[in-house]
């Protein structure tokens, strides 16, 4: 059973190996002449003023939290969808109840402005 996954592992190892190999080869080939200005982050030619890791919009966190909720929902639907031909009407009604509960939360998030960007 698990042996079916071995080729995926081999594939991942080959891909990682390829990435490492090209990076190392390129590292051996190219020249390196660094100076202070070259090693500064790019900021359109102006001297960088503050650290880049500044505070940023809270919206990114909101989106991430909403994502976790709805992504779990999506993954929950996968097994339901696969055996839907056996669940039939009972499965559909159950999923309607499940989605109704989610829609309540979705409506709340919408009304609270969590989905607005600006």
């Amino acid at each position: 059973m698990l042996s079916a996954y071995v080729p995926i592992a081999i594939f991942i190892v080959v891909a990682t190996g390829f990435a490492l190999f090209t990076l190392v080869v390129s590292g051996l080939l190219h020249s390196e002449k660094y100076n202070k200005v070259k090693l500064e982050p790019y900021e359109c030619g102006i001297e960088p003023t503050t650290d880049a890791r500044d505070r940023y919009s809270i919206r990114y966190y909101l989106v991430a939290m909403l994502f976790v909720i709805f992504d779990v929902e999506t993954v929950f639907m996968f097994p339901w969808a696969v055996i839907f031909d056996k669940l039939l009407l009972f499965g559909l009604i159950e999923m309607l109840v499940f989605i109704f509960i989610l829609v309540v939360g979705y409506y709340y998030a919408w009304q609270k402005g969590a989905l607005e960007w600006a």
């Binding site: 594939f11 982050p41 559909l92």
Partner: protein
Amino acid sequence: MTPLLVAQIGLTLFVFVMLLNSAAVMVYVERKVAAFLQQRLGPYRVGWQGVLQPLADIVKLMFKEELRPKAADAFLFALAPIIAATCAFAAFAVVPFGAETTFGGWLPEGLRLQVADVNVAILVVFAVASMSVYGIVLAGWSSNSKYSLLGGLRSSAQMISYELSYGLALAGVLIIGNSLSLTDIVNRQAGTWLGFIPKWFVFLQPIGFLIYMTAGIAETNRAPFDFPEAEQELVAGYHTEYSSMSFAMFFLAEYVNMVTVSAVATDLFLGGWHGPFLPESLGWIWFLVKVGAILFFYVWMRWTLPRYRYDQLMRFGWKVLLPVAVINLLVTAAGVLYFEL
């Protein structure tokens, strides 16, 4: 070493090399098609009609100096392009691209044209698609550059927003396909209705196909959803600070991701390797044609449509695509129930 094992290993390496090649071909095709759409010539100096241009690009990038901002996180900065490239390749491992073959009787039993025949292939695709966010977020954060950070944040928010619709579009296919294995789903699309309409799921799931394609374009950060690298506002987004081969890795990842999204779309919606005129053993030609058509469509889109605004993108993803995907799922379930498919 049985012949089957040798064939399997050979196939694995072959798929890897072909994916690399497809990225090189896509670089060339993108530039040529862009030129064609804008009535220019495009690359034509290196080799016949410029076909060796990608090779020249690689050689150039190999010899370029590798820069890393002094304040960057050295380990994560080096790790990010490797994660991006690895995730891009890993997803293709479960995609079948042809019927079982014995290579004209050379093998004792049939070999499936697929790196790994996993019975939960769709879950693997979905999982790896989520993983590829890491490469971009780490690249953006570790560079310690303002443009990179903003590009990485935008990109992650965009990718996770559209992943929901992406997953729900897949679930619609699962209802009519009754399997998580891509091979099974493709085999369910064999044959025709009324003798001339191929039994492709795109005809049963037209909305699902549109949602999948839209979300797929957003997932791969292509125009009109190419915010992570919106040149006019963010220079180059998350890979602003990358140069030389690490920069090439991100581009490789982007093109391989495109190929994977197109290949999965072909398997799920366009009947995979099934098609008229050709025997089943040559089905991989049909597969290539369909993937090529979707890829061309991708490039065509990029050079035709203007970029969205970021708030429009988020509104579209959360307020339009997500509800439509849920409704599509329920309608599909009701339809299966009513027509007893």
